[in-house]
Symmetry: C2
Subunit: 296 residues, 2 copies
């Protein structure tokens, strides 16, 4: 049964692998790294890339431990005690408005009394929805899920739809993907099985995004399309600052602000009551930001 050191080491290796692949996909940008320590216990490596195609990308690794704040143990509905948490978390904002924003996270949590679980997911936020991309993206995630359990994709796809939802806008953040949390031994799974699934999710990420970026990175972008990209990034910031549990958890527990907010866009805009023209690609995209769309 993999122990926490094995799992954290694997995550750290994943950060390395992903950064190498993203640098290759960008073709010019190089990650800068900051090492940080958590006063209460643990450390992390925050890496950021400002590239020619990836305008701003953050790839964070952390492995932290300590005594669980009571507020958090209550929120997680676990008994008080010591915890260990490790994971990799990524958000990439591309230069080109036709390439999508992407988010990936894989994480492991354990505490006293033999409690452990994995969580994570990958979801895509295109500025312009491309149905072919959407089908390929969801198809790839479904293939990863199906290798592990036939219930995974439908359950985790729905979870992503429900989670990445901007309630005050009545729209999803993007076209979803998969989201899962508290994958434990419940349901008769071994820790090896759950970890195997999470490893496959983590490894699927970089090739998937490299292919999407490569498809769109050199497309011409009009001023109108650039403006729309800024507006969609504004929505992304709204979701992350108002609803995202990881962001909220990080800020509430006095995590490293620069690492937590690495997900925010390099440049974003808000216009009062912006309404795309009927029949435009912008209007089509808005119409597709709904829960329950079957992309595959």
């Amino acid at each position: 049964m993999p122990d926490k050191a094995t799992i954290a080491n694997w995550f750290q290796q994943l950060q390395n692998d992903i950064c190498r692949q993203l640098e290759a996909a960008d073709g010019r940008g190089r990650f800068r790294e900051d090492y940080w320590e958590r006063p209460g216990g643990g450390y992390g490596y925050s890496r950021v890339i400002l590239g020619q195609h990836i305008e701003k990308g953050g790839v964070n690794f952390s492995a932290v431990h300590g005594s669980m704040p009571e507020k958090i143990s209550q929120a997680l509905q676990v008994p008080p005690g010591n915890f260990f948490a490790s994971g990799v978390s990524i958000v990439l904002h591309p230069v080109n408005a036709h390439a999508p924003i992407i988010h990936m996270n894989v994480r492991y949590f354990e505490m006293d009394h033999g409690i452990w679980w994995f969580g994570g997911g990958i979801d895509l936020t295109p500025h312009y929805v491309d149905r072919e991309d959407a089908a390929r993206f969801h198809g790839a995630l479904k293939a990863v899920c199906d290798r592990h359990h036939s219930d995974y994709y439908p359950a985790f796809k729905k979870w992503a739809d429900d989670y990445f939802f901007i309630r005050h806008r009545d729209e999803t953040r993007g076209i979803g993907g998969i989201f899962f949390d508290r994958l434990s031994s419940e349901g008769g799974f071994s820790k090896d099985q759950r970890f195997g699934f999470v490893r496959d999710v983590g490894e699927a990420f970089a090739p998937l995004y490299a292919s999407l970026l490569n498809k769109h990175k050199d497309k011409p972008v009009s001023d109108q399309e650039k403006n729309w990209q800024y507006l969609r990034r504004g929505r992304y910031a709204e979701f992350n600052l108002v609803y995202d549990r990881g962001t909220k958890f990080g800020l509430d527990t006095e995590g490293r602000t620069e690492s937590i907010l690495m997900s925010l866009p390099p440049m974003a805009a808000w216009e009062y009551d912006h309404q795309p023209a009927a029949g435009s690609r912008e209007a089509e995209t808005l119409g597709l930001l709904r829960k329950g769309v079957e992309w595959v």
Copy 2:
């Protein structure tokens, strides 16, 4: 004793007066108006200006009523029942990086059982702190306060410092101003006295901002200064989306999203771990974004 219709009418008149003065200060932009109705009761006028000097400005008036959601009555620690709320709320983002962002709000709330109170405030968020502006701004607010009670300015200045604070950045949103809430008959005040104070706050706003805008609107702005302005606007968005109670209340109670989020900047930026050069005006500004600075 002023009744709710009198107060709401006065707020609506204030919106008109302020919009006229801001159009004059801008010299070109004209407010666009949207009328909206609240399904549960009440209405509002949202006005927005995209001008030559005011890049984006929102001036909202609303007068809403109905049955108070239980969640809200609990949060406000009042008994369940019917409520009435009216007010004017403003955020202005100037074009010129040397001109400050400003926020103003005056509001009245009442409900069954004779409960009533006023709230509001004005606070300034300069991209670059200008000590002369800061002294004049706080001096003007102090003069308004002092006409009503000698305790007002020190108490409400501290309240603004504490309220407009971005905890995860350990910095204030700007140089503060005054903030007050639940000004009732407590302390031996009449409703006329409290309303008189709120009227003076409301009327002080437009001339104060017009003068600040006029001082800075034609100053040259370098690319570095423009970039800093975008970063400071990013902080403004962080405060409003993560901490601002009015925004949270509005989104939680399914208020009109476009009116609530009118406060967000037209364009904003986030850079990973941005550190201004030692001794720069940007570093000086950061050093002044602290609680407890006595500007007057």
